[in-house]
Symmetry: D2
Subunit: 263 residues, 4 copies
């Protein structure tokens, strides 16, 4: 039985994480860290489930008073780093969905991990499907240098291409022999038709209402194409990755960055 503390229980990720813990028999929620509601129970808060679990505003107080195995950290970077470090100092293993730690911070946590012989997993993306898509794409690119990425998102998204598409292209670049794709003399009669150029490969960003978060990576070779596609419709997609990380974090004595290094 793993005793779990969740930091950020009222966020979208946090509320899913509570459901996750509730639905697994080998996990038990023992406390939450929130920036308000100190001293209350989850059951006291309208939007939280009816559980007799204490809420702390002060992480150090929480870690001192509560006997826990794992911290699931889902707040913002500034808080996140403090929580993560303090947890490790108290022998509590962090599983961190908060992104934006600096390299220096990660080094510090790594030193702490080896010092205390305790694991820590930090992942910018806990959707196992997305992580597998990137990993498989990197593997396929060894054999198929021709690749286009099409990512599709709702039309409220500001940036194009998506972070996942750029990350995928970066990972492909590591295993792909450079190739300027398409016909040497190809011509865009409407500019932008051929998409963004990333190291010779092409990225296309579709934005439409009715979409959520989708990506397909298409590899072409004479006579065949291989497509790896991920469709995400809500944050439930992160929970299996967090579950996997809570299992794995108990077995390691280092900091692992990126879910792809857990799979």
């Amino acid at each position: 039985m793993k005793k779990i503390i969740i930091a950020g229980p009222r966020g979208k990720m946090g509320s899913e994480a509570i459901k996750l813990v509730q639905s697994h028999e080998d996990m038990r929620l023992v406390a939450c860290i929130d920036r308000k509601n100190n001293g209350k129970k989850l059951a006291d808060i309208a939007e939280l489930p009816n559980l007799d679990v204490p809420i702390y505003e002060d992480a150090l107080e929480c870690f001192s008073e509560i006997d826990a195995d794992i911290l699931i950290e889902l707040t913002i970077p500034e808080q996140g780093y403090k929580h993560t470090k303090a947890a490790m100092e108290h022998g509590i293993r962090p599983v961190v969905g908060t992104t934006g730690f600096t390299e220096e911070q990660i080094d510090e946590l790594s030193w702490l991990a080896s010092e205390r012989k305790i694991g820590c997993i930090i992942a910018p993306n806990f959707a196992i499907g997305a992580v597998l898509m990137m990993k498989f794409s990197q593997m396929a690119a060894q054999y198929f240098p021709d690749v286009d990425i099409i990512e599709k998102h709702h039309d409220n998204k500001l940036d194009a291409p998506s972070g996942t598409a750029v990350k995928t292209a970066e990972m492909i670049k590591e295993s792909r022999e450079y190739k300027k794709q398409g016909h040497a003399d190809e011509k865009e009669t409407y500019p932008g038709a051929r998409g963004a150029d990333y190291d010779g490969m092409r990225i296309h960003s579709v934005r439409l209402p009715g979409l959520v978060a989708h990506q397909e990576v298409i590899f072409g070779s004479p006579g065949q194409t291989l497509t790896i596609k991920h469709d995400s419709i809500n944050r439930a997609s992160f929970m299996e990755g967090i579950k996997l990380a809570t299992d794995k974090v108990m077995e390691i004595q280092e900091v692992i960055y990126g879910l792809e290094n857990v799979l």
Copy 2:
């Protein structure tokens, strides 16, 4: 029984057209027009099927000597127009896959059609599937103004977007209320990511080995997307459209331009 003349029997389209005629009991090949091989039979030419059908280099001679109902015209524009006009003057109904006729030429043929009470069908694209894709897209755009077009072709294609994609966008524009799509403040971190802008909608061109000719038109609306997709792998896709046109051309007394007006 429709008696058929085929112009351009040694081209890729022409050789498919011969197979088409051979495989339908209500059609019979009575002559071919070719720019060489005058006076020979199809059976004399290594690359053509073993048929006792005469070849003419001179279209007028062919139309005078041969009793035919339909000319399937699959040569180049210059020849194509001459053949088409001459056929109609001889009471032979043309089904024309050659593109590139001028408006003036089409007017002339229309006048001829009403004068002689004879049909003629000219189509830049005989793939029924592609034509339906465009027609359905035009219909859907009345209800869904948000639309992205993704077209995918082999990487020897020079122009992007494809002619079919541009034609589809033109047809959509006719029924769609103008909308500048995407978030008002969206930003391309890699230029071209959001594709080509055509009247506010977006067109994306994928070029990869292993692809032939593919297009999908995606309409988005809150909570749903509707996608219309056409995949073509070889010229056999044109034959059903030519068959349909040979049936229809017997019933009309005008020039119809575009297979969409036959469907």
Copy 3:
């Protein structure tokens, strides 16, 4: 300005309908019919928006007291029919998402519509995208008799194939010439591989977590395939259809059954 009454405001569809009315300037919510909360305002109910709009338990009382143009009826069949009929008797035009009316009931409503010169629209499916998919499939089947339907739903769905898939197959059957598809001698080495047989065409039902409601209709012909695909991720997809129906119902003096007859 169309004055709207919504029946069933606390259901999933109802709460979306309230948002719909609120987001359009040419619509105004004037009352709700609910099976509890009589005499209260929407603002009094925690789960409803903060609006000074009265709630009635008795539909007749509501229709007598409130000046309205349209009833959006989203309750259960038994209530639905009573509400619909009473609304028409009070000169209020119904847009009905409740399904399950008998033929007799629809006849009665049709008689009432012509008597009172008032419109009524009843639709089992208000997702315009789904309705267009079915309509386009029916059109395409005239040219392509070979068709497989693949529908994909979440794995809590009990029945296979889905109602939409069967309805699509029925509509295709009306325009398709009968054909027993596949090779005459084809053999299933694992039973069920070729899916369900509906009038010679094939229907396949995929059930997986992570899916919501998806369907693709694939037409095949030598050298080409045409695919029409609808993806629905939540009930927002119904709202555009309801909006369309509220516009249309003001212009007609009959009962229209099925959104496809409005498009």
Copy 4:
């Protein structure tokens, strides 16, 4: 420079293999083994390219007279085994696309490989894309036990599901924890709708004109799906795999069965 003998030069695979060798500077065709045309040159045969390369009917004679590095074996199983064994006895490394060897035969070849310190690669499927699809599917199944396979082929195919679909399911089974998929109480209103049951997962076979050979493997998990898809349009898809095998076979001293073990 690798000196290559091709067995079966007039078959569909063989003629693609000749093109493959011609298009790579590090490969040279030195002989062919055919069941007719003994003593002739490729240039003498109408359907073969204009090359001054000898044809042998007797494989032993060929291997004795010709200095070669690799045999690309693309005939039928009976011949294939004899050729493969004889090649190894002459120090020529076989790359074998012929399938249907018995386990005993493979053992014999393995013994020969270690004896002679020579490599041999036998692969039932040389399409790298298909092999990667299977490999990735096996990897993904560790994390996602819910999986449906949809395979699509032309409507002249006799067996359903396809051999590749069954092989994929077998490979998934090895890494997937058994799960009976779908709702426990699900019901087929039309039998076969839910496809074939293979160890609790589902396989669906689509057969339509206009298709060639396609497969998608869909993994579902709360909030997300991961899809791995392979589309093959002609035999060119096998050539990259054969090329890879000719490189690899020079480096090994054993028999490798299955391209997945080379990747």
